[in-house]
Symmetry: C2
Subunit: 155 residues, 2 copies
């Protein structure tokens, strides 16, 4: 089964984020073996600048890499529509069989992480919070699998 | 105070959608007088085609127009980044003082609604569910007001 790991910096801040993730993970079960791996954020504990913080988080992220094929989410990334994302997903499923999606913390991802990723995707020209992007990614994965399998979800 | 009405077709399907909306409405209180107006979807009750359904929903939406300045959300709309959206919002706040954001049902909005809107915005080249777009719009409004007021939320 297609193994997808979502690496996310910082725990879910609110109940509804937890619940939305549970909701989509349940729907996605039939399509992939999906795990969400939470990486502690370091912002509360140290008096770091944004850059230092991203660097410190980068070390923690690297320790949790679960696949050799990694996709970063960043607003500097490539834009795809839902059909293109489905094709992208299908291609990884066939060629790699597993992948990591990486979502940064409040200040995004360090360049050292982006360099270790096969590609960087942007889900919108708008900036979305690092919390809200979690259900957004999951919904898009579900939509992608629905497109690939001819399901009803994507009209 | 800036009056914003969000007209959304179909009730919130899941608890986490309700809770995410409550979460952002609370945060937005200091910036605007915001209401979410739910418009019943007609899909369960009639055996309509997608087009007929959108037309039937359009009549219900028109009955709930609460402002003369209306903004439709559709993936055929104009893309803005978060700073451009903040400037857009600030302009409406100054010139209009009130506006409606309109979110369609599962099959989107009828052209007759788009024609009655001052503009149509797209939040992503990806298609997001008509449920998930609700917290996405609210988060973007909160981010927009934070940018306008120099708040900390948008870095």
């Amino acid at each position: 089964m297609f193994k997808i790991n979502i690496l996310a910096v910082g725990k879910n801040k609110d109940c509804w984020v937890d619940e939305s993730i549970t909701h989509y993970l349940k729907l996605l079960k039939k399509y992939a073996d999906l795990s969400v791996i939470y990486i502690p954020d370091v912002r509360q504990s140290k008096n770091f600048s944004e850059k230092e913080l991203r660097k410190a988080e980068a070390v923690l992220i690297e320790n949790k890499f679960a696949s050799d094929y990694r996709i970063a989410l960043s607003d500097r990334g490539k834009s795809l529509n839902s059909f293109q994302f489905a094709a992208f997903l299908s291609d990884i499923m066939i060629k790699q069989g597993r992948c990591d999606f990486i979502i940064g913390g409040i200040f995004g991802l360090d360049d050292s992480i982006l360099k270790q990723c096969a590609c960087t995707l942007s889900f919108s020209p708008m900036t979305f919070s690092h919390q809200l992007i979690r259900p957004i990614l999951l919904e898009q994965l579900y939509r992608g699998f629905s497109i690939i399998s001819g399901g009803k979800y994507h009209k």
